[in-house]
Amino acid sequence: MEIRPHLSVQNLNVYFDQLRILKDVSIDIPDHKITVIIGPSGCGKTTLLKSLNRLLDPLDGVRVEGRVLVDNVDIYDPRTEVTEVRKKMGLLSQRPQPLPMSIYDNVAYGPRIHNHVDKKRLGEVVEQYLRMAGLWEEVKDRLGEPASRLSVGQQQRLCLARGLAVGPEIILGDEPTSALDPQSSQNVERRLIELKEEYTVIVVTHILRQAKRIADYIAFLYLGELVEHGPAAEVFANPRDPRMRAYLTGEIS
């Protein structure tokens, strides 16, 4: 039997009301690599990302067809527990969203809810993930402060630590650097590259240069269609689809 990747999308269609937003998307996401989803604004990148951890569920008027397999389990199967699906993925959103509590409590949020960390070890765990996100040195003396007081760049790394603390296998990022200054962006990019040793990373971006810097694998969406996907070097060197070529040369954006 062929070894299946962690995450595999098969014939995925998403409708908002009657509008078809994603059209028959199929892709195997390679493990322990950074897959970057690119495409013009409104083409469905965020929708694709959210369909991977069922964040489309709470929206009104959404219909999802097709299968998303995580570790060979269809996450849209009615028997699948949605919280279990989401635990396997950490999410970074476009603007960092610290929860209305202290820095410490933000990181401890997941472990507390899932009760998978011994209470006595919680402090260590929080430190471990803050270090992994490259934030520990900056916040170790102010863990009790509200997370909203951190700078936006720090908040994004806090969100990364918070996501990692749940113990995911996959990290999803929806333009995770778009609200950040160049320095913080670089910092987050570096973290993502480090993290692919242990995690499978999927990042949406509309910055082509960022895609070139971090991508191992590229998926190009255009008007809800997965037009082209493949190893980054290959796709960038000789894109097959004319739309992909036009996007790379900046004719469509």
């Binding site: 709470p58 989401r86 993925m89 999410l91 929860l99 509590m101 949020y109 997941g110 996501g163 749940v166």
Partner: protein, 282 residues
């Protein structure tokens, strides 16, 4: 602009000063605080203790809050977090309509339904005989009147919380209820408090409906099955009626001033909290 914004504040001040000036005759006879805390109310003998009325107001208000707060918060949480969009859009105008109904309507409805309910079912259940015209009936009617206020302000507060914040919690594997508890209610706490205080200040001042069901007995209530006599009811019932009794006029003016102060206090408090919440959300 500055002048215009000052006008309402100036008017309130003017009313307050006017009331105190008219209350001067009685303040000249007895000190303010002894009037406030005396329970003796017999105008013909010259006793004008306002304490039963103040307590009547507080009792009715308290009962209404105990009933209204949990129910309206749960309703607001349900409408904002759980109900489908169509239900929310259908319910909102109804809630606003309820907030705008004249209070006499609630009063009539209270007399027809709530008073008998309290007198024949609730009081006997607790082993008490009661006419039904009680603090409890007043509290129930008032609770129903302040539901819409608390619900609609809370809905406002919840909708000011970015959806992405809920998504962040959900994406960590939290259930919907955990997200509501740890994120929505926590983030909205100050706003919820403001909503309650706003409901509270409406409750203090509400006259007609309460007056019709509360019994209007100038005695300190000892339980929710006693009749009560809130300040607004005192004013509405007696102003212009008993004016031949010496000092009655002045005593009512004082009662009005006290009521105004209480309502003002809670309104200002609510505004302050709301401003802080808005600044935080920004």
């Amino acid at each position: 602009m500055l002048v215009l914004t000052c006008v309402p504040a100036f008017l309130v001040l003017l009313i307050l000063v006017g009331l105190f000036v008219r209350a001067r005759p009685i303040l000249a006879e007895k000190p303010f605080f002894s009037l406030l805390f005396s329970s003796a109310w017999s105008p013909l003998k010259g006793d004008f203790g306002l304490f039963p009325f103040i307590m009547g107001t507080l009792w009715v208000t308290f009962v209404s809050l105990v009933l209204a707060v949990p129910v309206s918060l749960l309703t607001a949480v349900f409408l904002s977090e759980y109900a489908p969009r169509s239900v929310r859009e259908f319910t909102k105008p109804i809630i606003d309509l309820l907030a705008g109904l004249p209070s006499v309507i609630y009063g009539v409805w209270g007399v027809l339904l709530v008073v008998p309910l309290v007198g024949r079912i609730i009081a006997p259940f607790f082993g008490v005989t009661s006419s039904g015209y009680t603090v409890l009936a007043g509290g129930i009617v008032l609770a129903i009147m302040i539901f819409p206020t608390i619900i609609s302000v809370s809905l406002e507060v919840f909708s000011s919380i970015p959806y992405q914040m809920r998504e962040a919690s959900l994406s960590l594997g939290a259930t919907k209820w955990e997200t509501v508890r740890h994120v929505v209610l926590k983030k909205g706490l100050q706003g919820i408090i403001a909503a309650i205080v706003l409901g509270l200040s409406r409750a203090f001042g509400e006259t007609m409906a309460v007056l019709m069901v509360v019994g209007n007995i100038p005695r300190l209530p000892r339980s929710v099955f006693d009749g009560g006599y809130p300040l607004p009811a005192l004013l509405a019932n007696n102003y212009g009626e008993m004016m031949s009794v010496p000092l009655y006029d002045a005593a009512l003016m004082l009662a009005a001033a006290v009521l105004l102060l209480v309502v003002l206090f809670f309104n200002v408090l609510a505004r302050l909290i709301l401003v802080r919440v808005e600044r935080r959300a920004a």
